[in-house]
Amino acid sequence: MTKKENFLKGIFSENPIFVALLGLCPTLAVTTSLENAIGMTIAVIFVLVLSNLIISLIMHNKMLADLVKPVRIPVYIVVIATLVTVVEMIMHAYLIELYNSLGIFIPLIVVNCIILGRAEAFASENKPIDSVIDGIGMSLGFGLAIMLISIFREFLGAGVLTIWKSLQIDLRFIFDFLMIEPIDMFIKPAGAFISLGFILAIIIAITNRSKARMAEKEKEVKSNG
């Protein structure tokens, strides 16, 4: 696998949210606004890239790897929990409004199965540089997915898109033009499930269509050849 393929797989073919359906708890909970999704993405990028790097460095040192192997999962958890606590303290100090808005979902990054999954499935068996690239790709894939869901939910639920603090894009004129009110339900938990379901259905429909086209093209090539 080339470095480019390694990076892109996290965003497209192995997207943790839309393809693997991992880490759905924060995905459904924090996507009430785009600002929350951006904050969560920054936190996950920091944790996933560094945890992949540290775990790969540990497992590529023969002496350390032999010592750690029997207790590797607790060691991964200790590393991940430390990184999450560091993010939590930094966010509390410098982005307190975002910290309050994300609430319990920052410490819950520790048990996000994307982080532990990448540590066990990729970082422990690959070189540090590849693990960092995998971490960047996966966290960006996670981030883009939750941003897409939050855009969908915040637009339909509130008619605005909150990018950062008071920086908002007001799209209520669309609702005014249609003479309807924003649908508050999309900001609520039920709206999270409905939004994710809609987006997944659209993505699967597009993927199936492109696969069918590819298959048709292959057939044509074979029959012509």
Binding site: V68, V78, V79, N100, G103, I104
Partner: protein, 178 residues
């Protein structure tokens, strides 16, 4: 060496390294976190009492659930207290809920704001839910409205308002530091 002991020592070593790193980061961020929390509280008070127009004194407490009381007066030498802003914490479902409650000198609640919380599920709406309406008496919990489906969160909020209800009359009479 026994394998179990070896694994235990490995985990201990990782724990120590990570603990040390966290201590360093905590040392770097603790003051900033305290300053940011104070900023949020003063910002909430400033919605009603600008420091340019009013004198705001802070009484800090090292024990109990109240961590500080902001005393708002017309001027530094004024005897009359215009309002008191209580910063109180109580245990919710996910952790501590910290609330700033502003009480006017007629013993009614001017406003309150949830400064920090880690509630999840129905309790995550703690910031928007109206447990007590503005202008309701601060020394009584008769008007307290429980949040449906969030018993622990509601109990924490009730605890916060009851702490204030118990002492607000004495505090307004000038016994804040008791």
């Amino acid at each position: 060496m026994n394998n179990g002991l070896k694994s235990g020592l490995v985990l201990l070593m990782f724990g120590l390294i990570c603990g040390l790193l966290l201590a360093v980061v905590n040392g770097l961020t603790a003051d900033k976190i305290a300053a940011e929390e104070l900023r949020l509280k003063t910002q909430a008070i400033e919605e009603y009492y600008s420091p340019d127009e009013y004198f705001i004194d802070i009484e800090e407490f090292d024990y109990g659930k109240i961590d500080s009381i902001f005393i708002i007066k017309e001027s530094a030498d004024s005897e009359e207290i215009l309002a008191l802003a209580y910063s109180v914490s109580s245990q919710g479902y996910g952790g501590l809920i910290n609330v700033l409650v502003v009480v006017k000198n007629d013993l009614t609640i001017q406003d309150y704001k949830v400064i920090s919380h880690t509630e999840s599920g129905p309790g995550s709406g703690v910031t928007d839910y109206e447990f007590l309406s503005k202008d309701s008496p601060a020394n009584s919990l008769d008007d307290f409205d429980q949040m449906a489906g969030a018993t622990f969160t509601s109990n924490a909020m009730r605890d916060i308002f009851s702490i204030i209800a118990e002492r607000v009359e004495n505090d307004m009479g000038g016994e804040v530091d008791d």
